[in-house]
Symmetry: D3
Subunit: 284 residues, 6 copies
């Protein structure tokens, strides 16, 4: 990339530091799990885990755990995609904050449509495009080094847009203004995200710990609904997935790929200061 | 009631006409169903109906249908109450637009707490208070001739508030401002409502037909989320119940207590211009 | 029209149903009256009617009534145009929701300027363009199958814009945002509309009946002033025409072309739940 | 008045300077005209003047002009009061910025109801209360040394409120917030005011000259409608009285009581940078 | 300039009268001072003056005063420019309301970068461009007959923008919206302005006198911060310069170039109804 | 305190955790410094430190550093108080988030007026009241276990309010709404605070580290100005103190009382992601 392009995509020091983090990130918890079937996720899982993976031979235990965690992450992406309803092969979807492309490939496989992913990490974009070529879907699933706040894509060009745990890096009002622009009338927006709970109050110690770890800015739950309302995105389904994601974290805490951030997540979820939330909304 | 009191509760001609409608309403679809077990509902049902009620002896068929419809209506109220989570006997709940008290009695029975209902129909309030006396719960479940936009109850006095199909008579911004005032910090609001779909556009012919029938003002879905956001009420769960309420209307259309409004409801739900929506939100 | 164009103009199911209504509309109350002098109106009349039309020979009575009703409708359009003040032949006017072109032809005749009408009914547009050809003014009065919320006309290209009873099909905030864009600095906006009265409260039964009849969404009076204020359109004259339009409806109720909607109109106007309002405002 | 009371009513240096101006004001244009029939006005007139007053004997010419100007001022107050519609003797009206009480006495005489006037000039209040005693109506028409932004009157206690050329001393958003509080649901607000024209742009030299003369802050026309919309006051009639007030100023310029401010008024009205506007609105 | 261009730049009568004022302005207080060193300022000065200029020979006294006043005006512009921090030669600055170009030339000299000035006075623009040619910097300092509310310059093209006493001619919300558009992310805005004090209340007599003199519309201090907040311009330094500008006015009152407006300025500053304020803000 | 009172003051889990932190806090950096002269501060210092304190005998070095740090902290509080201008002994000041009372005692000593401090830490309140008794000023300086978002003090009762590094625990819009209520017209608000820089983007890793350490929620700079503008608090002076506070942190990093949070502060200040800001504003 030329310096000019980078400057255009990464307009603040904050964005540069986030990009740098993900350009350098090679956490086994993402790479080893992705190796299971070639879907590299950058989000967490939902659903109860199979307790039997903890039992049995010690030497294959870790492999069983990793496979199981990957299954839960794929289940999460599946639920996210379920909320798009009917998408036709002629439609176009946008994966905002696409990571290494996992959810995009699942969407393409399911709907047969064009999917575009954007990320401010050049490394992730390159990785995902490589995957697309290996899967022979590069004509339909492509990934771009672009800022989701200002994608440059055509107005009204998307039937659906999702954020799979990528909203905590941006201002929601700016984000949803761009999505309002990109979505066609009646288009669908879906996100799964961690948000802190206005009811327990400000960001708890555990939530700030997560912010520091990922250099992210976790939003209060209320911000999502204010920013949706301000941008003509109208909720149709909202699901509190907190209780469904806790088992994933409990399993992860017992795995070899634990990064140390498991404890703040579990603390925050259990004390109620943090939610794992799915929102599906229509653009009107 | 003195003229002064009535003038204070019913401040506009519109409210007077709504009050008059409900004061005079004696629809079998409400009274006969309520007679089944003494829970008089003024809302619709959800869940699939038992197809067997349509079969069997002709002369008891209608009775079977009525019992089944009542079961579906009670199931609806049950789902609404499920979203309050833990309510202790020391808490206080408000049933805004309480009708003849059905949901209030279910709430009291479930949580053991004080429940207050308000209605602008003096007849409904009287009916509900009679029921409370007959049930021996008049000390804990009471009903008041008051306007839900201006209840006069103490600030911060409610742990929870619900609207069971009563929001279409009022301005949502005024309503949620009052609820924000009434709810304690962290209190829960739940509503089930019919709302029209911003995606299909303005109020369809079928929706206006319903408005005319009930002298109500059905809101667009978007209004709910704008008014919640403007009043510090933050959604935690939103469920599109449309597909779950259609069976109820199909059964009702076949019953002896059909009022003629069944067709507009079924048309509106099926064409997508109308939703049956549950919203649970926290007051922060 | 190609399917693509139609999809672009009619973006929601609601708009499609409105378009369909007007495409198929052949009400004598519009066609017979228009036949009088070739000005086909789609709005109501103002001023007292000549009581003598009801007397005299039975067989020509209906013709007299129709001519008189047409005179009152033309008088209404005249008052609307009066509020544009000085318009020069070099100016351009927009008739938003032009119907079969009646007001547009009057404006062209009066000011000698370019007038463009837009409608989402292809039938109306075709009809009006036919009229323009027959009148030999097709070079100056033209009609377009376009959505008034998104006309595609150039920014700042209009000296004046009016809605003659066509605002009840659209969101006023969206509408006035488009008009703000289209009007030059200092340009004039005029509308005549039926609106419901915030003082009597929500939409009355009679108003919902009108909504259902025309598949329209009558706005509260307050919405007009909120939407004008939000879009830099500043009122200079506002006239409550209610008492002046009632005679028209009384006459129409006695005519052979009554459609059945006369009673709801008269009820609504008389009970005070509905206004017939003229608003003139400047774009700043 | 005690120092404390004065400090409470006059909370800013600006208000003190306005109060001081009016406490010391003894302009013949107000006092001589009031002497005609005991109605002391502090506003301008409307309607054409009788050209004959300029003719005839020189020595009584001035008297004729003064009587005629007073007639036009009383005609102005009459039009203002016309917009209240039906007011019953049991109602209560508020004259905000009452001056020496002229309009208040006309209102009381017309409707038979209680009228309260407020002014930040103690001298004016005293003068008006004296007048009330002389007229024997002190029990029904009373005047108070209070700030119209914070009257201290009871919430919902007024059926109607007017400003007769007194809005240019206060912030309209604060003013209408107080009036919203004071008016009962459905109450009527009427004002006649000079406002500058947003279409010609900012305050012209002539308008600033008027501001300096009266130490007032003339608002743009748009501010009135923004502030009404923000405070649930919905216009029902708006009349541009500019052309009707110019004759008054032309006559006044020829009178012995001209103060020198006639030229800026005439310049501003004629160049279009200034309007004389009546607004009637309903509180909802 | 062609009539069309003028009409585009001067869109209201108000703007035309302001342009006319400055096109005809030849006040010695601006021209004689500018002659000192060729920097023609249209703003006031700050800092204490050298008392010795009032002493010494009578015949050169006026020359000494003029040189001293010019020094104070240049000192003011220097402080304004200090708040831009590091500007590189590759950056571009905009002087909004550039007058005869004084501050622009100082900026170019200091930073070596491109500076563009805009004014609605063709005479000022011509004068400033002449100066640029004489100074041999016409390639880097250019002046344009454009409206600062709608400059036509490219989005994001400016590193910095200032108003040196030119904000009182425009609506601040419109102005800052244009500046938000023009500034790059992180760009700096600086203004020095006279504003009236919300604490003392509305515009005082002295402030209205200044408004009339310059045909300007002095804003309340609060408007600056509301308009900045509404347009993502975030203050980083705000300095009340009032006490530092009073000496300049005292000296000017004693000079031969006094225009008569000195007394209102001194009165307004001393009574506290008027501030001389510097604001530096970042565009985010 | 009774449980009820505590529940009223600490309404969320977040507030409880903050209160618990400060109830248990016994950091030498606060206590040892306070012991120097009995002014216990809970904020940082400004100004350059005397380099000589680092030199000289090792065994008294730490004492010298501590005395010097305390001097810088006292200097900071002095600058804050400078911005109140003239406060008379009859006025009343509020110290919002008073900690152990340091700034309050300085204010009382300087102005001779009543000062009230509020804190959600009962331990701090008790400590500060003890100090007041020891100093013999308990009649004029008192401290209360109250929430600064809802102090319960009388409307308009304060001449001035300050936050000395205590705004990062609360929502600024709620806070300034309460201060608007408490301040008399024309009253002064002053705060010194750390805020993150919107120009560098979201909260940096270093800023989140500080948030985690203190369980606080550092706001972006822009939030201060939005919340002030929304609550009629108008800035008059804003000073970026960042460069003046860095020496304090450099010294503290070398002291025995360093807590480990020095490095994030220095990193954040130096990289520009964090400001140390003073804001003085007037309530209008």
């Amino acid at each position: 990339m030329t310096t000019t392009t980078v400057a255009k995509v990464l307009r603040s020091d904050y964005q540069k530091s986030v990009a740098s983090y993900w350009n350098n990130e090679k956490d086994p918890v993402n790479l080893l799990l992705g190796d299971v079937d070639g879907l590299y996720h950058h989000h967490y899982g939902i659903g109860d885990y199979d307790r039997s993976v903890l039992e049995g031979p010690e030497d294959t235990r870790d492999g069983r755990i990793i496979t199981e965690m990957h299954r839960l992450e794929t289940a999460q992406a599946k639920i996210l995609l379920d909320h798009f309803g009917d998408i036709s092969p002629a439609d176009r979807l946008l994966d905002a904050g696409c990571g290494r492309g996992g959810t995009s490939f699942m969407a393409h496989q399911r709907f047969g449509c064009q999917t575009d992913g954007v990320s401010i990490s050049e490394q992730q974009v390159e990785f995902a495009n490589d995957q697309a070529r290996q899967r022979g879907v590069a004509d339909k699933a492509s990934f771009h080094f672009r800022n989701m706040l200002d994608t440059g894509f055509e107005t009204g060009s998307c039937r659906g847009i999702w954020n799979n745990e990528s909203t905590m890096y941006v201002d929601l009002f700016q984000l949803f203004a761009e999505f309002y622009r990109l979505l066609e009338y009646g288009g669908r927006y879906v996100c799964i995200t961690g948000c802190y709970n206005d009811v327990t109050g400000g960001r708890s110690k555990a939530v700030s710990r997560i912010d520091e770890h990922y250099i992210c800015n976790i939003h209060p739950r209320s911000d999502y609904f204010k920013a949706l309302a301000a941008n003509n995105l109208v909720p149709i389904n909202v699901i509190d997935l907190t209780s469904q994601t806790i088992p994933y974290w409990e399993l992860r805490a017992k795995s070899s790929v634990a990064t140390g951030i498991e404890d703040p997540f579990l603390t925050a979820y259990r004390e109620g200061s943090f939610h794992y939330l799915l929102i599906a909304a229509d653009r009107v």
